[in-house]
Every structure is written in C-alpha cells, then in structure tokens.
Symmetry: C2
Subunit: 326 residues, 2 copies
C-alpha cells in the first residue's frame, strides 16, 4: 500500500508519520511506500524506510498531477493556510485552501479517467465550518454557516469531497477536528493557544497566561485522538458512511475551570499557581464566537473515539511528550 | 439605478423583466438602466427603454469583468446549467455553475478594489442543496448535503456569497426557490414537469400524463411568487438578515391529489378527466428523493411570501397566462 501525507510537516502530520513509523501495520495493510509532502521538506523518523519526501505547494501549477501520478492508495490531505492568515490574505487563503484542494481532487479524477483509480482520500476539515448562533449542542445535521474565509473554504471542500465521492472519483472522508489540546511545542499567538498553554507550561514548570474566565467552555481532543481519527478513517468500511461524508469528530466539551481542576489533581496546586490570570477582552470576544459542544453521534457510531476527561488529556501529554513523568 | 439580470432569457428571468417593464417602480428606485444578459440574446418587452442586451457566457474568459465594469447597482444572477445537464456533464456543470458564479463574484470584488463598489447581488439557489434523508419539515438550520452535482454547485456558491457579503465585497442574498408551478409553456422532459403539466394542459383542454401516485408530496410556489421573491430581495433591508445570507423561500407543501382536487374545483371534473395515469417507476424513484416540506420561518419573517393553496396557484396561472379565463 502506498500512503501519501500532504501537509506532513504540520503538527498532526508529524504525529501521524510517527505513529505509522512506530506501528507499521496501523492501517491494517503493509505500507510499501510512504510519501510525505509539504511546502517545506517534511522531517522523516529514522525508523521509516521506503519513504520519499517532497517539498511542493499543492496550489502551484502541475503539483497535484505530479503527486497523483504515483497513484497512492491512501491520500491524507492535511495541508492548509491557517485561519488567521486566510482571513488576513483573502487571495492566498482561497488559492491554497480551496483551489489547491480542488486541484488535488481534479487530478485524482483525471488519473481515474486514464485508468481505473479511486483512492481513499482523508481530508482535515474543521469545526470552523460552523458559525454563531449555535444550539447548546451542535448536532450532526446542523448547517454550515462559517464566519471566516477559512471556515468557508473548509465547508466548500467538504461539499466537493462529498460530490467526488458520490461520483466514485475517490473514496473520501472529511474529518472535522476539535481544538487539539495539549498542543506540544512553544506557546504561539493563536487565539486558542491558551487552552494548551495553561496546561503544558505549568507541567514543565513554566508560567502561562490565562486571558479568559474559567467558565469559558470549549471542545477538545488530544493529539493522540487526532491521529486516531486519521488512522481509523483510512481503515474503516466507508460503505457504512453513505453519502454524508463529512463527520464532526467526537471530543470533550469542558470548561477552562475543568482544565485547571484536572491540572491540580495531576500536578498539584503549585502547577496551578503558575497560571497567571490576565483577562484579554479581544481574545475573550474571539473565543465567545466559537462552538462549545457537539453531539458527534455519527462519528462515535462509526467507531471514532476521543477522551472523556481532562485528566486523560493531561496524562496523554505526559506519556507522549514528557516521557511519562513530570 | 442600474439593474442587471444575468440569465434574463430563462423562465424566471423573462417574468422578472416583464414585471419591471409593467411596474417600473417595483424596486422602489427608478430604473435608469436595465441590462439583460444570457447565453442567447434575451427578449425585450416593448414597454422598456434604456435597456441593453448582451449575449454572453459568464464562464468564458473576461465575461464577468465586462459585465461588472458598468457597475450595476443590483445584479440578479439567475444563470445556470440545469440539474440533469450538470449531472450528465460534470465539467460543464462545474464550469458554468461554480466557476462562472465565482468569476462574477471575483469581478465585483476587484471592481471594488479599484473604486468603492458593493452592489446588491441576488443569487438563484435551489432546494437541491438538500439531500435525503430529511426531517418531516426541513428547518432553516438543516444542513446542506446535496445528492447531485447541481446541488453541490449551488451550495458552494451559497457559501461564497455569504463570505463575500461578510467581507463587504457585495450585499448578497441567496434565494432557494421551491419547484415553480404552474410553469408556462410546453410540457418538458424534466422529471418534475408533471407537477405543472397535470394542471396547465387540462386548463388548456389538453391531456396530460401523471406518472406518480396522488399521495406524492412536494414543495411549490407560483412563477408570480418567484418574481416576488426576487423583487423583495432587491428592496429589503439586508441589515435584518445578518451573516446567514441564504434563505429557503416560503412555499406550499401539497400532495398531487390536492393539485387534482383544486383543478376539479376550478375547472370541473372534465378537466380532471384529461389527466391520464401512467405510473413511471423511474420518475417515481427520482421524485421520492426530493424534499417535500419546509419550515421557511426566516424568509417569512423577512417578508417573503408565497401561496397557501393550489386554488391560488391555479388562479394565478389563469390570470397571468390565460388572460383571466379558461
């Protein structure tokens, strides 16, 4: 089996590659070839052989055809301009997030016109396809009314994915990820960064800033769950999905206060003392527009799973990022 | 005010032009200029002056820029490849229905970059954005999971319309039309044709074929209502809509049997005797996949109105198409 990961240098991409390196049978079939693609040269874990890497911009002329000509059996499309940049640069966001994705889909269709070909195509979508006002729990049949260009681009790609799958051009699944927590690495400037910062930094003995109230609710899954979603999406029987190919992934709806309580239970009050409260009304306003809870019934029924407590999410971070100890 | 109608030679386009000719103040402001555009030269009612016509394909290079350079204040975009053709010819459907529309939206945005410009943009969408299974009544927050490429293209254009409106590039409204009944003209081969045929033909003393059971339910509005939707969309205060710019129009949910009953009341049992029952399982299966009922609350609250009985729909046909008598 030939597996291609587009966007392999991103946080989820790297973790997915690590998982396939550690468990070569994770996708049920032997991976004979693994191709890693990103705009920068993606890193390669030492354990992997039969691997090739490509530094390439999917939205540039001929790129999609070049990728698809090697006829991968499974294609992960994780590459995107992030939300803030897509909002700041209208042309770039549409070019990469919409036109780049459509070029990939079209290249697959045209490859299939030459000779029968319909790979499994797994697309990283986002809960940014939803826009306020929301019901208390967003169900699987709630409409997509994005309030960002990023969310619009993701929602459009979901529609294309469903139509191309219905036509049999590929076998597509759209994965709407929760906010990933605890994100490894350094604090970043994303408005959502604090959800991870207030756990990751204190666990490493560092201060972190909490810019919102503890009663802010949000929707989370661990990086390990995210990788699990993408593994399951490659293995699962898509005959069970039907034509509604885009799935809100399961997650944990929790208050910031519940994050803090879990941190206290696991790392003690000293860790919690490292959280510095500095209310930021700008971040508060942005976060207030985000979804807080979902009833992700379909994805659960189809076998996707996520954490059920912040204790679990913190323990996963300790195991996967901190070598098991704090 | 300069009004442009793209798709002016179609059934709704022609009726909209006729309405503006008969009531020049229908849009509240004086129409100083009216531009009619279609792939074929659109017909012009004698009553209209200050009118120009253009035969032009919106999806061909430079067409959108050419249209927009005259800076219309109101743009109606009614042009589309119909459902059956968009399903049969994948490339043509996407080229006209998606790329043509996006080219128009982009031309408006770029015109606005040169000099401040944000016209009212009214887009004809469709209930084909919805796909089975449905709730008994489809509410305003039900998700779009089209089961045709046509419906996919309409749903994508709705998303673009909302994003371009949110950004202030234009002031857009998407109008999801019910099935228009009674369609004037000759019987056609559209799967939905019989809904009109079984009334229009008997009213004119002709036989018509009914290929489905009388207990088939569907969602209707008259051509007069459709024109009314488009007039109201140009006049209304869009400040009341908010960012959810695509509206399911009100309509009448009725059984085929109710059509027949209304025909009997208005034209007598002899007219009903002209309906020949010839069950066609192919048409029956297609129709079974269509939405049957909506709760179009938002559009009603925003002032859009439609018929509440088939008696009304038939009387409108008699007034508007048959000179008031049968």
């Amino acid at each position: 089996m030939h597996v291609m990961i587009i966007g392999a240098a991103g946080m989820i991409g790297r973790k997915l590659v690590d998982k396939l390196a550690a468990e070569p049978d994770a996708l049920a079939y032997e991976i004979a070839k693994l191709t890693l693609v990103d705009v920068i040269e993606p890193p390669v874990p030492a354990a992997l052989s039969a691997i090739s890497t490509l530094a390439l911009d999917l939205s540039s002329e001929g790129s999609a055809e070049r990728l698809v000509s090697s006829r991968p059996d499974v294609i992960y499309h994780l590459a995107a301009i992030v939300s803030g940049e897509a909002e700041a640069d209208f042309d770039k966001g549409y070019s990469v997030n919409l036109d780049g994705t459509r070029a990939l889909f079209e290249a697959i269709r045209r490859e299939g016109q030459r000779e029968r070909y319909a790979p499994r195509l797994i697309f990283a979508s986002s809960i940014a396809v939803f826009g306020q006002p929301f019901p208390e729990k967003i169900g699987d049949e709630f409409f997509a009314t994005p309030l960002t260009s990023y969310g619009t681009q993701k929602a459009i790609c979901e529609l294309l994915l469903a139509d191309y799958s219905r036509r049999g051009f590929f076998d597509g699944i759209g994965i709407r990820l929760p906010t990933i927590c605890i994100r490894p690495g350094k604090p970043n400037k994303a408005a959502s960064g604090f959800f991870s910062n207030i756990l990751r930094e204190p666990l490493a003995g560092q201060e972190a800033i909490l810019p919102v109230d503890e009663n802010v609710r949000h929707w989370f899954a661990s990086p390990r769950s995210a990788v699990g979603f993408f593994i399951h999406a490659a293995r699962m029987d898509t005959g069970r999905i039907g034509p509604r190919r885009n799935l809100t992934m399961p997650g944990l709806s929790a208050l910031v206060g519940e994050e803090v309580e879990a941190l206290k239970r696991i790392a003690g009050p000293k860790a919690v003392g490292l959280i510095r409260r500095e209310p930021d009304p700008v971040i508060g306003a942005i976060v207030a527009g985000w979804p807080t809870n979902f009833d992700a019934r379909r994805a659960r029924e189809l076998g996707f799973t996520a954490e059920s407590s912040f204790d679990e999410i913190i323990r996963i971070h300790i195991e996967d990022e901190l070598g098991g100890k704090i």
